[in-house]
Structures are given as C-alpha cells and as structure tokens.
Symmetry: C2
C-alpha cells in the first residue's frame, strides 16, 4: 500500500503554480444542473426505452457467457437477441451500482470522485493522428502519447490522465496497450484508463495497476475507468463485452457508451436517439452488474449529428446538445454517474470552427451535469486527430468551466456593499480596499487569451490563439518534471511488460 | 399607413432561401431558462440594490429637468445626487412598464417581439474600426456601415438591423446619425435603433421614423429601440438622459444598460456587480416611466471582467457569465425585458480565442433568457472592431441558438419508435422511412463549418473558418438586393436629411 502514497505531488503543484492556479483534483459543482425538457418527456423516453428492450431487444454477439448470464437473470434469449422484461435492466442497476465512486490515483491528492455533484475533466481519447503548428498532421507515436500524458499532468484544470490519448501506431497493435498504461503510471500521477481492445489487454491493464496499487487494494477499489462502446444500434460485440467483463470482475469501472452519429446509427430525431441510447446503456450497465454486483459503472453517451448531405459527423450543433442534456437527466433519474461532452469539433485545425464547436459542447456538458468528461481537451477532426495547440486551448476552457461551476460567493465580502459605499458615484474601484483584498482571485485568468490593446498585440507579432498555444505546450514540455515513482514499482512494471512482449509475436492488426 | 405594408419581403425570403433556411422573425423559446443561484440570493441582491439607491443614491448630472422629475416623485434630491425611498423605482416600473412589446419593422413580417419567452438577435454596436481578411483593420466608413446593414438583412438568423453597427468616421460627427438611420431604412426592412449621442439626434431619428411609419403610428407604437448607457458607477449624464427623455416622450423603447468592466466600474465580485447594475437599471428605467408612464423600457446589462494585471477587459469568462445569469433572473422578477450577451471577445482577429469567448457568452445569454441580444454578430477586440468574417461566423451561431431554443419534438414522429422497430440491431438508419421523411429538417446546417474528410478539406485548399467566412460575406454582398421602398417615402427621407445637413455646419467631435 505504501506505493499509493505516491510522490509527484510536489511537481504537480509546481506545474500548477507555473500558471498561477491552484485547482482542485476535480470539480464539485455549486450551481444547479440545467434540464431542458420536463419530467413527463423523460418518463416518455424511459417508457419507450423499455419498449425497445422488451420488443426489439439487444444483440449480444459471439459471447455465450453473456447470453447465459441474461438467461439466468430472466431475460428472453433468442439466438443472440436478448429481450428484457420491462424494468429488469433498471432494477439490476439500481439494486447494486454505486451512485458515485472514487477512482484512486497513485497520488492520493489526485484521486477523483465520479458521480453526484462532481465533474472530472479528462483528455480526448482515441485519435490515430496528431497535429501541431510546426509539423502539421501525422500519425501519432508513443512519443506523442507520452507528450500528452505529460501535458495533462502539467495542466492544473485537467483532472485525469485519460486513456488512449492518441494511438501510438509505431508500436505493434497487440503490445501498445502495455506502453500506454505504463506511460500513464510513469509520466503522471493522475488517474487513468485501461485498455479495452481485447479481454487479455484489459487483464494486462489490471495486472499493471496491481503492481502500483497492490492486488488487494485493486479488488476493493476503483483504480481504472474503462470505455466500453456499444455497437449501435442495439448491439454489443464480443470484444467490448469481454473487456467489460474483465473490468467488472476486478471491480473496476466501465463507462457504457453508445457511440452515436444520429441519423446513421440512431433515428434522426432527438427523442428517438435518446430512447436508443437509454436502451443500450441500460442493457450494458445491467450486464456489468450481472458480472459483479456493485462494480462501478457509468452511463456514457457520445452523440453527434451527421450532415445529411455528406454523411460526415458534425459537432457543436444544437440537436446533440439536447441529446446530451436529456441523457444527463436520465442518468440522474437512474442514479448512476454520467459521461458525455468534451471539446468536440469537426475542424481540421485549431481555428474558429474548432473553438465555436468545442465551446458549445463544453458549456452544454457543464450545464447538463456531466460527471466524467472524456474528450475535454485536444480533440480535432471528429476525433481523428489530437491537437497539441487544441489541447492547451481546451485545458484553458476547462479552468473556466471549473470557475463557473464553483458558483457565486454570497458572503458579506461577496456582496461588496462596503466597496459601493467607499467608491460612490462617478469614481472607480481599481484602488479601493475591497478590490485590493480580492483582485488576485477575483477573475479567472486565461493563459491563452490576448486581452492587450491592438497596438501591443501587433507589436508582439500579431499572433493568433494557436500560435500562443504553440508556445505554451512547448514551455510545458520543457518544464515538465516526472513525478517520483518507487524504483521497485517501476522495475516490476518494466519486468511485466518485457515478459508480456516476449510472450507475443508482434501483431499489426 | 400603407408604407408599413412594405416591400422587400420577397428579397428577404430569397436571401433566406439562398442559405437554405426559413427562419422566424425572432425566436420564441421552448426550453426553460437557467437560473444559477437560488431565489434567496436574488432577494439579497434586490435588498442590497435598494440599500444602494436609498443610502448612496445615483447622480443625475447636468439635467435640472431630471432632478425636478425625481423631486416630484418623492425622491430625496441633494444637489445632483438622488436618493430613492426603498421600493420607489421598482414601483414606478412595475406600475407602468410593459413586460413585453412589439418593435415594428417596416416589413411587418420582420417586426419583433421583445420580452417574455422571445429572443431578438441584433448585430454588434459601436465599433470605430472594421476588419476583414483582405484589408485588415481600418477605420469604418459609411460604406462599411451599409455593408453590415446589408449583411444583417441577408442573414436569416439575425432578426434586427441594429444601430451603430460601426461608426462611419468619414462623415461629420453631427450628421452621421442621419445616414445611419437612413441606411437601416433603405437597405433593410428589419427593425433598427435610433441615435443616442445627443437629444437632437434622437429627435432626428424619431422624425425619420415618422416619415416611414407615419406620425400617429410612431406615437402609439414602438419603432425604435435605443441604447442608453449608465455612466457607471451610479451616474447618468445629460447626453444619455436627454436621449432617453426624447425616446420615452415619443413612446419609443430605451435599453437602460449599465456598461460595466467589473473591478474598475463596479466591485470585483459577482454579487457586488449585480447589486450595482440593478440599482442603476432601476433608477434609469424608473426615470423613463416618470417621463412617460408606459413607454417600453428594457433592463440592459453589459458586464465584462478586466485583467487585474493590465486593466484590459476580458470576455467569455466565468464571472461575467454569472452576472448575466443573475441579472436576467432579476429582470424577470421585475417583469421587464432583458438585454445582454452577444458574441463578445477580446481577440483582435476571428481566431479560436474569438470563437471560444463568443460562444461562451452566446450560449450563456441563450440559457439566461436574454430577450434582446445586442452584439450578437461581428464583435471583435472588446467592441473596437466590427469584423466581416466574424459577423458571418456569429450569424451562423445565431441559427444554432435558435434551433436549440426551439426545444425538443416529443410527437410520435419525434419519438421515432417506428424507426427503431424498422431498423433493428446492427443496421443503419440512413435509408429508413423515418429518416427519409425527416432528414431535411433534422439537423441545423452550418454555412461555415467544414465537416468533410481531411483529404477533401486539404484538396479544397485547407481553408480555415475565417477564409470560408470571407467567401460567404462577399457572396452575400454580391447577391444582395435592396428591399423595395415607396419612392415618395425615400424622397421624403432624403429631403429631411438634406435640410438637416444644410442647417448644421460639419462638426468633428
């Protein structure tokens, strides 16, 4: 257990101080959530989702064990199609899944609370490409992966190291998960995600985590959060089911996420999409509870619309915002944590399109009451590309979300009547006592925004936000200091990885 | 009255069709407003604002008539300082100010409803500079002014022609209001704003409006909305009071807007700023009701924070978002329409900073329940610059706000159970009957976002959003067709302007 009292708090605090912020390990919201529809509409979606589960059902493909579990639970199993008595999935979830849980980080100060009024901001996930201003777009490598782990570690408003922050395509397909998990452990001390691309890779992720946290600790606590996508519409495949089973068995968290491009993988309407998402999420979450009652599970949603002209996914648009808001409310009614949102965009570069689209979804996710915001920072091009400059921009927005969700100070100092009395009509507040006492913490301070005069901005090179962000990520990497790790733990991790690498021939797919 | 049955509906509809949208003349929200604090906090601000009004008071400068009105109403007038018995201002407003009203456009199809569940999106206001990608930043001219009137006319999701969309500095200071008002009338048929820079310019604005709408109509209906800024903290000056009096006397609407850079012109805290804003707005709105009970008046707020390092204004940040949300709730409790928000940013160019900041405030203003959103489109550089590309980007976002606020279709078609039944597990929805029936209107379609593949985007020149927006405004101006106007009305307007110009020597300040 001593390894959990990890080092690296110092370096993390230094990194935080370097941008002038002392941010908490996660956000605890003090403003209400925004609900966009009335309860009757939510009840309608719940009713219709039960109709989908009962009449149409969900396919659990190539997984006899899953089908046996469902048969045992009282579902109607017809080939691979499972139909569920009304209320069965909901009951399985509500009987045992926790409403909120802690994901432990190896630095206990960085452990995060997932669910309830809490919000954990997590880097983007899954891009095969990276982009920066200097080299443009290229396939990601393990060096890029490590860079993003380091940038997330240094970012005070990003709470989590993420998972596949980019896909290190220079490593063999069947081995890269080992270096990814190792990088999260070695180059950060924030919480991270395990591999889901095969059940044995999930087992490797758990095994590596046990070397850090201790075997017994892992079996009784959540140290890995893992992304399980449904194969929408209405299908779970063997890969995802296998990984979900591994994690649930080890009491680790899964995020059951229908991945929806509405109009292609779900109906074109908002409520039709929400109905399908709820049905898929209910079936997937209930499955984890059949594997191990009480295993932490998160209601996940990734929903975008598509261009009905080209079929291309679109982001930051109003219809997916409604889907997000409704699904968040459905998750609250179900009593489980909710994952959605992020700095989603279709733009190829970190331009105004990227920013409008990202801001729209970041704001809506914060309003909706998301608990685990995958894809908070770095996302470009519908998730195909992880952007260095984009990461810094989104991480800056993350701080604004935190500050917004902290709410309003209604103390006597917050009311500031004395300041109004002191200054009076026609004067200014810059020098008054109340301003002097409060100015340092009064306003969120962006690291990227240029608020100077036009003349000063021009004299400094007339840089746009992407150029300023470029300097910031380079500075962060140059200043990066790895958190300490116990040498014995590091050796054990490397030994495990070398043994596993030696056991497997390289695979390319 | 025949002139009000104006032409130009055809051209406006053509302009709308050219971008594939049939947008309503204004938005009627069907989603709830978001309230960020509890009612007790709002009551606290209301109590404190009354304390400010009673103990500190407001200065009405260089305006004996205003002081006399206040004395007559029972306020305590000490020199230019007016102190108000608790509740006086609120009572004056609630006794007579309308909760919502119609501002008539010369095309009746374009008249807008201000207040209640309605939202009117209005161009940015007041910039001395303009910027486009081709020529960079330069002083605005009357040609730029006309261009923005034309662009707002052609923008289906911008509901209003605005006021000083940019400052035509090539015209004499004392005459430019005549050409501005004329341009709004001649080059658009949407509603517009009058001049407030001097009482006689306000009178000119009313006189020109009467030539279009008819004298009697103007005295009984709102055809002008006019921006009256407080001289924060706690001062109204003679210019603003004079203009407000002219408009209120003629039954035209005023927007009483404390213009706040928090930390300089108000306390650094959220509630301190809200308290001051409410006190100033109450005094200013009550003043209009003393001038003419029942004259339409809007509670306005423009609040930004400042960088406590440089003193520069900052935008899109979390603290002003809270101010906006709280003031919107205070306006609802008072029972008057509310103005705030817009595509506010500090960025000098239409880059990612501009877009993040603008989106943050646009989203929050829509959530808050703003009724009249000045500065919706075009704003750059803290309002110093009106951007051609930025205008097109923000106008695109305006459509997304509209679509979001229209809410969720919960009809049988919206629920889409038949689509789920038809498609079933593992198939796709692209070809299904429900998708075919709904795809054209299913998703908001951005005119600026590029959602194509990386390869296609690169083949098309790897353009960023600003470059695409550049092509769009040029296309819109090239396709622009002026709405018809009755020749007699146009002649009367020109004759009035020529007479007024002949009466005054040019002034340069």
């Amino acid at each position: 257990m001593s390894t959990r009292r990890a080092r690296g708090g110092r370096a993390a605090r230094q990194a935080a101080r370097s941008v002038g912020v002392e941010a908490p390990a996660y956000i605890t919201r003090r403003v209400p959530v925004f609900q966009s529809v009335d309860d009757a509409t939510l009840e309608l979606v719940e009713h219709n989702a039960e109709t989908v589960l009962a009449e149409i059902g969900i396919e659990f493909r190539d997984d006899a064990e899953a089908l046996a579990l469902w048969r045992g639970a009282g579902a109607d199993v017809d080939g691979e199609r499972v139909r569920f008595p009304r209320g069965l999935c909901r009951k399985l979830i509500q009987d045992s899944a926790p409403g909120e849980f802690v994901q432990h980080a190896r630095n206990p100060e960085r452990s995060v609370r997932i669910g309830g009024p809490h919000l954990v901001l997590v880097p983007a996930y899954g891009s095969p490409f990276v982009r920066d201003l200097d080299h443009g777009r290229r396939y990601a490598t393990i060096e890029d992966f490590r860079n993003f782990v380091k940038l997330a570690y240094a970012a005070p408003e990003i709470h989590h190291s993420g998972g596949t922050v980019c896909e290190p395509v220079d490593l063999p397909v069947n081995k890269r998960h080992l270096e990814m998990v190792y990088s999260h452990i070695r180059y950060s001390d924030k919480a991270f995600m395990g591999s889901v691309t095969a059940p044995e890779r999930a087992e490797d992720s758990v095994a590596l985590a046990k070397l850090v946290f201790g075997e017994d600790f892992v079996e009784h606590n959540c140290v890995l959060v893992n992304l399980i996508n449904a194969n929408s519409p209405l299908v779970f495949d063997a890969t995802m089911l296998g990984a979900a089973r591994v994690y649930a068995r080890h009491n680790q968290a899964t995020v059951i996420s229908p991945f929806i491009l509405a109009g292609a993988m779900s109906p074109v309407t908002i409520l039709g999409t929400c109905t399908q998402i709820l049905a898929e999420a209910l079936a997937g979450m209930a499955f984890t509870q059949l594997v191990r009652a009480g295993a932490p599970v998160v209601f996940g949603t990734f929903a975008s619309s598509i261009s009905m002209q080209s079929g291309a996914p679109t982001f930051g648009s109003p219809e997916p915002a409604h889907v997000l808001l409704i699904c968040a409310a459905l998750a609250r009614r179900l009593g489980v944590p909710f994952r959605s949102g992020g700095g989603l965009c279709a733009s190829k570069v970190a331009d105004a399109q990227a920013a409008y689209e990202s801001a729209n979804t970041l704001q809506m996710a914060a309003m909706a009451g998301v608990n685990f915001m995958l894809h908070t920072a770095g996302w470009l091009e519908g998730g195909l590309t992880m952007g260095y400059e984009k990461f810094m921009m989104d991480a800056d927005q993350a701080g604004m979300l935190r500050r917004f969700l902290e709410g309003v100070d209604s103390s006597v100092n917050g009311q500031a009547l004395d300041a109004l009395r002191e200054v009076g009509p026609g004067a200014h507040f810059l020098g008054c006592e109340h301003t002097q006492a409060n100015f340092e913490s009064a306003f969120y301070r962006s690291a990227i925004a240029d608020n100077n005069s036009f003349e000063q901005w021009e004299a400094e090179g007339a840089k746009d936000a992407a150029q300023r962000a470029n300097a910031l990520w380079k500075h962060a990497l140059a200043e990066y200091q790895a958190p300490d790790i116990e040498p014995g733990v590091d050796e054990a991790l490397r030994a495990y990885i070398e043994r596993r690498n030696a056991e497997m021939p390289d695979a390319t797919h």
